[in-house]
Structures are given as C-alpha cells and as structure tokens.
Symmetry: C2
C-alpha cells in the first residue's frame, strides 16, 4: 500500500483531525489542499505554507478538476451543508470523512445520492484539544482508522458486482490511513457506531460526570486527586460542543451502552451498601475484562523487538477480487486491519 494509490487530497475542515491529516500528507510531500471556514485558522495555516482557502465552492471546483479525494473533516452538524456543496461542485470526486459517528453521515450521503462515491472513515485518535492550533503531525501513528464498506456489502449481498470506481476509492481511503501511520480497520456503519459508543462516547460521558463529582468535593478533593481521577477525566477538557456532537448524533447506539454501564454501577451500589459491603463481583469481573482486552493486544506488550508489532491481525485484500467483500466481513469480526494490494 503506497502513496502511489493516492490522488490529490482535498480536506474540508482543518481542525484537530483535518489539520493533522494535512500535516501528515504534507510532510510526505503529497499533494494536499483544503478549505477552512475560519479566516484566522486559515491564515495561520497559510503562514505555515499550507495550501488552504476559505472559499468552499472554489476549493471543490479545484478538487473536481484534480479528481481529488475529498476528506470531510467538519463537525457532524456541518456535514449536510458540505455534502450539498460537493453534490453541486464536485459530484464525481471520491468522498471520505473523519466524523466520529458513521450512520448519520451515511444517511446524509445517501440522501444526496452520493453513496457510490463514498467510503466512510474514522481515525481513532485525538487529544482533548481542538482546532487547527491543536493539530499535529503523527497524531494517527498506530491508531485504528475505521473504514466503512456498507455500500459494497449491500451490493455483494444482493449479488450485484461492486463498481470498480468504488473499489478504487476503498483503496484510496485505506492508503490515506496508511500514509498517516494508522491501521485501516474495516467496519460496517452500525457496528462502528456501537463499538465507539462503548470505547469513546461512554468514556466522554463518564469524564464529564466524574469531573462534576470531583468538583463537588471542593479544593480538598482536587488537592488529593491523582492518576486514576486524572486519567478518567482528561477528555472532559474537550470543547463541550464537540462532545455533544459525538454523543447526540450517536444517541441511538449510546443509550443502550449507557444502560449497561448504569446497571453495573447500580449492582455495585447494592453490594457496597449491604451489611457486609462487597465489591467482589465487579472488581473480579472488571479486572478479568481488562486483562482479556489486554491479552487480545498480543504482541504489543510482550514483544522484545524494538520494532513495535501491531496488535491487530492483518489480512491482505485485493479490492475487486472474488470474495473480497466477504474478506472484509471476516476482518471486521476480528477487529483486524486490512492491507490492500
């Protein structure tokens, strides 16, 4: 998977994620340009020598001329508007995105009739900071980069061949992930949203709630707070509008996961308030779950090699080859990464 598979890349939205992708591509001397709504952030990027503009229509016409891969990196609330502009100015470009929920984006993509030109994406990396000023090179190194393939799965399930243009786009998106140092993990839209509700959106809800409970303890609690508190609240530093965007647009998947979590706490509350307080069940099953998740990381911790080995099983896939969509489904079940060739 080399950058030879990558056309010029047009990034719409240069916040933490979009900006970091631009830095990574630019550092590899790949052809990248972009659009940002904020004039001050755009000027800051221009001063660093990046090829960016505040004119969306103009940027999209340029993308159309260059047959660029368009990366939608705006907040969820702006995706509909950006897709409308793409449908108008660059309807034949391949499109991907980096939004942290996939079903709401896919619904909008379909409503604009762009699904044959779309492969969803979600790099699982970030910091508690946001905006161009927070972007940095190398942010995605070794991170998972979810890549959706529902369009191909739907066609394949109906016995319809997947168009070559879509397979090519899938390769491009996997290549984009790869050149930033990330690992492409194929996943369906719905399984993605359920998984990130568990491992990303729930932790955000927890961080906000725990920050409030800690703050209720006043200066003494703040003074005594150590690693466990800091680790669990760090992401409460995130701009609340971004947290709302993630959680609200993924509420359908998040609510049942939140219910699972609340049920565990309610059980713990019951055993802790018994005459003989006990946390036996939660502490033991929690630790087993933690160890099991770590064990799946396999070589990552055990390797003595200075070269870190990815913990994710890899499957090499040739998009368009017979059975390739079935292969993606197998990798998804393993949480594995795909290498296209």
């Amino acid at each position: 998977m080399t950058s030879a598979n990558l056309p010029p890349v047009c990034i719409l939205g240069l916040g933490l994620i979009g900006g970091s992708i631009m830095r990574d591509l630019s550092a590899r001397e790949l052809d990248v340009f972009g659009y940002n709504r904020s004039r001050s952030a755009t000027r800051a990027a221009q001063r660093e020598g990046f090829d960016v503009s505040t004119d969306l229509a103009d940027t999209l016409r340029r993308a159309a001329e260059a047959s660029a891969l368009i990366v939608i990196a705006v907040p969820m609330e702006a995706v509909g508007q950006v897709l409308a502009a793409i449908a108008e100015h660059a309807p034949h470009c391949g499109i991907t995105d980096v939004v942290s929920v996939k079903k709401p984006v896919y619904d909008l993509v379909r409503s604009h009739g762009l699904q044959s030109r779309y492969v969803g994406g979600h790099p699982m990396s970030g910091t508690e900071n946001s905006g161009w000023g927070a972007s940095l090179e190398g942010l995605f190194h070794r991170a998972a980069w979810a890549v959706t393939y529902d369009y191909a799965a739907e066609l394949d399930g109906a016995g319809t061949p997947v168009p070559e243009s879509w397979s090519t786009l899938f390769v491009q998106v996997c290549t984009l992930a790869s050149v930033t140092g990330a690992e492409a993990v194929p996943v369906s839209v719905s399984r993605h949203d359920e998984a990130v509700a568990r491992v990303s959106h729930l932790p955000h809800v927890i961080a906000e709630s725990l920050a409030i409970v800690g703050d209720h303890g006043g200066t003494l609690a703040q003074s005594l707070a150590a690693g466990s508190f800091k680790g669990a609240t760090r992401v409460a530093d995130t701009d609340p509008s971004l947290v709302r965007n993630m959680c609200e647009t993924n509420a359908e998947a998040l609510v049942p996961v939140l219910d699972e979590f609340i049920a565990l706490l309610v059980d713990a509350r019951a055993t802790l308030s018994a005459n003989t307080p006990s946390l036996k069940q939660l502490a033991e099953s929690g630790n087993r779950a933690y160890v099991r998740m770590g064990a799946r990381s396999g070589a990552r911790h055990e390797s003595v090699s200075p070269v870190k080995i990815s913990s994710r099983p890899v499957m090499r896939v040739h998009p368009g080859a017979p059975g390739w969509v079935r292969q993606l489904e197998q990798i998804e079940a393993l949480g594995g990464r795909v290498e296209v060739f």
Copy 2:
C-alpha cells in the same frame, strides 16, 4: 523541614507503597528497616541490600529499641493484626500508616488505645501494579500525602492541650512525606474518606465497569479503543483484592458519591433518549467543573519557570504553638499543604 526531624523508620509491609517509601529513604541514606510477610519479596529486597525481615515481633522489638517511627503499609485487612503486635512489642513508638481509607484504621487504632501515638497518612500516588517488584524510587514526587490530625482536633476542641509527644509525631510524619518529595496535606479522617471516595475509589469502580462494557464489544471495540478508554480503564489492571479492600472499607463514604455519579448518568440517559437527543447540560457543566478544578491548580500549568511550583497553597505551622490546630483546619479547607518548622 529536614530529615533531622526523622527517627529511624520501620516499615511494615513492603508492597508498592511501603517498598517505594523504603527506596526513597534509603536513597537519602536515612535509617530505614522493615518487615514483609512474603519470603520471596523479602529475599528480593535483601538481595538489593535492604534491611528487611519476615519476623514481625523481632522487627517491632527493634523498632521499640530504636524509638523508630512505624509505618503500617499492609492492606487494610491486616491492619488490626499489625496493631495488636505493635501494642505488644512496641507500644511507645510513633505510628503512621499509608492505607487508603482512614476511618477504619483510626477505629482500630482507638480500639487498641494507641491514638495518642498515631498520625494517619495516605500518599496519593500509585500505579496499577502492586508488590515489592512494582515499588520504585520517586513514586511520591509532588504527590499529596494526606496527614490526619483528629486526635489533636478532638483535644483542642475540648480545650485540652495536645501532648508534645503527639506534636513531635506529627512533625515526623510531615517530614516523612517531605523527604519522599510529597506534600503533606492535613485532613480529618472523615473528610479524607469522603474526598478519596470521589477522586480515587469512584474512579476505580468506573474503571472496572467500563472495562466490562468495553469487553462486551468484543475484538472490534478493543481494536477501536483509544486514549479516552485507556485513560479511564487503566486502574482496572489493579489486583482486584486491593480494589475491594479500598472500596469495601470505605463503602460508607463511597455509596453516596456513587449515587451522585449514577444520578448524573441517569439524567444524561434521559436527555440522550429524548426525541432530540441532548447532552448539553452534562457536557457544559462537566467541562466547567473540569476547568474549575484545573484553575485551582494555578501556577502549575502557567509557570514559565523550569522549577515547577506546587499548585497547593502552603502554610507554615509550628506544631505546639498557640492556635496551630486551628491552622491545620484552615489549611484543610483550602486543600493546602503544611510545612512544619
């Protein structure tokens, strides 16, 4: 506050905390010896040149001869037994401890009639690992080290002078904290237990529960888990028996704090499952709480000096001077640190 105030130190229990204290004192060439139940850990410590034994009675007789400061660093469940041995073999030594709950320890101390020889302690530092093998020099650097003073507050409240022997012991415990690089934070037993329920025990309950919810998501969720999940679950790696010990012995303070946390989640669940899902209130108040807690850290983040400035307000106190117990109460209200002179 120099190590001149410190008599020989006798550490009972050489796990992560007791072992790390031994390493710190030893590195400063202070007189330190100790006891550990485990023969293999004791041998490991001996091989590193530490003065440790598996004979508790013998170690305590030595402590009595040397008028040592005894540090109880065994798990909560073993504290009663250790106090009984101290009452038998070293009843005149000063005693402190490093157990993560203070009321259950203080109750046991009183039941052995040792309260005039006891100043409770709790260094707010640790890792997810345990045992001598996990101990390390410098673990407490810049950490808060809670130091209790209920005995003095009770006497002072009743208009009874605090015995000089107790004031001297208080100085010794603050000095112990100081020589490990920690900051002594005076706190009453009950306010300590309430604060650590918020900032330590609740995060442990959260980590266990979140690990289970993440694990339910299978390999895909594990593959997609990034910083927010890892930060919030890290302490689920802790030995479950230690987590049980902390949470079960502090259940009285932990249950109401858990109720506060559950109530926030139940509210969030309600607004997220509305027709128009919203996390506005939680995201905004959580972020405000986080920022407020950070703002209290004052100079810590803003200082441009290469010498880090402590975020905790400092008050210099001369134990035994008129009004000194009242000073401790003022520092406690600020979550500040005490410097004895």
